[in-house]
């Protein structure tokens, strides 16, 4: 069944006028201080704090991510109901000093179509010097114009555009919750990618971990990834 999963080739982004407008609107929203309830940092000391969120889109669907409302709550719609779509949001916390760090998110979906659910959410975790050493596949960040597409499918071939990851100056990992694994009978719903700089996949086991099955629309999916000393997540 996994062979029937269509995958859209990842091509370099051609920035369109509409994407520029969308990005400018989003970025201006950050600059002028509009409240962004979806991203925050829990500070365990006064030297750790968040940057504004940085958004990136995909070549085929430059209108995403986009703000929306779910159950009366402001939310960030990352993808449309379309194959080959991907998008994301990134931010940083200053003052990392080697302590355990986690990234926690709540997500959902409200519509589904076609082959069902895939490829879910992916959490990417970096630790690196400087604040400007990531590259994104849009031009919303001055001096960091992309496009950089790093990654690819997991070792099992399941992961789709969730394999897309940014360029980086230090090693990092990403963990993807992919509900499509349930549809192909896998006991695990996760993909792991370990990336060496700038963009080399050194490991990409797939179908690992455990499963929550197929959540229904409007279910809240709580996805937490923790990195602890000793290189365990």
């Amino acid at each position: 069944m996994s062979n029937s999963k269509r995958r859209r080739p990842l091509t370099r982004m051609i920035t369109s006028a509409s994407s520029i407008v969308a990005i400018i609107i989003l970025f201006l929203a950050v600059i002028v201080g509009i409240n962004h309830p979806i991203v925050s940092a829990v500070a365990s000391g006064p030297t750790i704090g968040p940057s504004p969120p940085l958004f990136f889109d995909s070549p085929a669907y430059p209108g995403y991510p986009t703000w929306t409302t779910v159950n009366g709550q402001r939310a960030l719609q990352l993808t449309p109901v379309s194959s080959g779509a991907y998008a994301g949001v990134a931010w940083h916390a200053l003052g990392y000093s080697g302590q355990p760090v986690g990234v926690s998110m709540n997500g959902t979906y409200t519509q589904v179509g076609g082959a069902g659910l895939a490829d879910g959410f992916k959490i990417v975790m970096f630790a690196q010097n400087g604040t400007g050493s990531l590259s994104y596949d849009n031009n919303s960040i001055p001096g960091l114009s992309g496009p950089i597409l790093c990654g690819g499918p997991s070792s099992t071939g399941v992961g789709g555009s969730a394999g897309v990851s940014p360029d980086s100056t230090s090693p990092y990992f990403s963990l993807n919750w992919d509900p499509f694994y349930t549809l192909v009978g896998s006991a695990g719903q996760f993909n792991l990618w370990v990336i060496n700089p700038p963009c080399t996949v050194v490991a990409n086991p797939g179908g690992i971990g455990c499963s929550i099955g197929q959540p229904a629309a409007f279910d809240t999916i709580r996805f937490k990834t923790f990195s602890r000393p000793g290189c365990r997540i």
């Binding site: 990134a90 789709g160 969730a162 990992f173």
Partner: protein, 155 residues
């Protein structure tokens, strides 16, 4: 469509070093969250996200007395070089020989980067030696940790 039982939980851990990953040098911490549709179709939507930076802790155990009965203190420390943040929360106790701890869970108190709490241990048998283990559960800022010590019976 849905086969999800409400409240379904799934957690697992991975040793990243087996995949060639080592924690990079300290600096800034970045997080990125993506939604993706390879061949499936859903409007993946982010409701909330955060970076959680926890501090590591160490737990030390010291006891007065011996394997026949003892008063034990757990000291939880935050070794972070950043401004001190006192560990809070509770410590649970266990013994290799069974027995009772009063209270069974103690609440930390302290200041600076260190906090402690004390319990009284009474064994249920004559095992010798006895390992006393204190488990700090962690709090919203601190990761949990475990410490132990060994008690011997008097000669």
């Amino acid at each position: 469509m849905s086969d999800l039982t409400s409240g379904t939980n799934c957690s697992f851990s991975l040793g990243l070093s087996q995949y060639g990953f080592n924690i990079p040098s300290p600096g800034n911490y970045w997080a990125m969250i993506m939604g993706a549709n390879g061949g499936g179709y859903a409007d993946w939507t982010l409701l909330q996200a955060q970076i959680i930076a926890e501090r590591a802790t160490t737990t030390g155990v010291s006891c007065s007395g011996n394997a026949l009965g003892s008063t034990c203190t757990a000291t939880v420390s935050d070794p972070s070089p950043r401004p001190p943040l006192t560990p809070t929360g509770t410590v649970t106790w266990s013994s290799s020989a069974g027995g009772t701890f009063k209270p069974s869970t103690c609440t930390l108190s302290g200041s600076g980067s260190t906090a402690s709490c004390t319990v009284v241990y009474a064994p249920s048998g004559n095992q010798n030696p006895v390992t006393i283990t204190a488990t700090y559960q962690g709090d919203s800022n601190h990761l949990g940790s475990v410490g132990n010590t060994t008690l011997s019976a008097p000669p």
